[in-house]
């Protein structure tokens, strides 16, 4: 089977980030190539996040009105890939969280991220290139300290792929 053909629990998704402080993100074409994305979805690149937020594509449309016409028209326009605000348990020495911290400080580093969901056998990957726009730490004393970072995907730079 090509795609996981089951309803997946939310727990089935993991988030991976490309390694290196100065990464070269995948080309737009390769974001839809499973072999390219799965090479990045390895345990060394895992981000220890609590939950994967909503991902995919935002909505955007223009509403056209014509005098004399009863109904208007909604035309899809430039929709951005969905920005993701992600919470992770904060280990100050976690290599990949340090990459997120560095990216947020820099603001212009393009990095490939992979969300990989699996039913245990088959895998579907959502890959995108993005920049980190926020990095904050919440040390609420009732639980572990959390670090929150927001990834803003670059326009037109995402793709879906699956194992075959």
């Amino acid at each position: 089977m090509a795609l996981p053909n089951k309803v997946l629990p939310g727990f089935s998704a993991s988030l991976y980030c490309q390694a290196s402080a100065t990464p070269t993100p995948l080309s737009t074409a390769n974001l839809s190539v499973y072999a390219s994305t799965s090479a990045l979805a390895v345990s060394a690149n895992l981000l220890p996040v609590e939950a994967i937020p909503a991902f995919g594509q935002d909505d955007a449309m223009a509403n056209f009105n014509v005098a004399g016409s009863r109904q208007s028209d909604k035309i899809p326009t430039q929709a951005a890939p969905t920005s993701m605000t992600i919470t992770a348990a904060w280990n100050p020495a976690d290599a990949n969280l340090l990459l997120m911290r560095g990216d947020a400080y820099n603001g212009t580093i393009d990095r490939t991220f992979i969300i990989s969901a699996t039913d245990g056998t088959n895998i579907v990957n959502y890959a995108f290139n993005g920049r980190v726009g926020q990095f904050s730490v919440d040390p609420n004393p009732t639980a572990e300290a959390k670090c929150t970072f927001t990834i803003h995907p670059r326009g037109n730079q995402y793709g879906w792929s699956n194992n075959t």
């Binding site: 345990s43 220890p48 996040v49 348990a89 572990e144």
Partner: protein
Amino acid sequence: MATQQNVNQYAKAIQAQLSGIITPVPVYANFNRNFATQNDFVTWQLRNVHQPVYTGQTQSVKGIDTPTFQMSVFSTTMENSFLNANKILQALHGYSGLFGGATHGFQISKADVVWLYNGYDNEINLFNIFMDCTLYIPT
């Protein structure tokens, strides 16, 4: 990444820490009057060991553990029962640092003690005080 903590280590540390606080009053895990014959003694029970699990297939993506152990402070006199409970409260509530001594200890960020209630057991003729202590353990 957070690996699962060793509960055996917890048990050793709790025993050592409590023993250190109220020495020479004996400390036992789980036992009651059927076992202990002293006029004053303390027992403890560990519960609620749980590190929250997070998304993905990697087992070690977890949060911190916040286990709770209940302390039961027994005494033949009400005053000793309160004095021993107070000694534990003073030493443990808000404590941060090495928990469990040099041999079995580990670092905790905070110990949070809740004094639950006191009572008297007519069958064993002992005053008792029950307290909960929650540990916040960096992982």
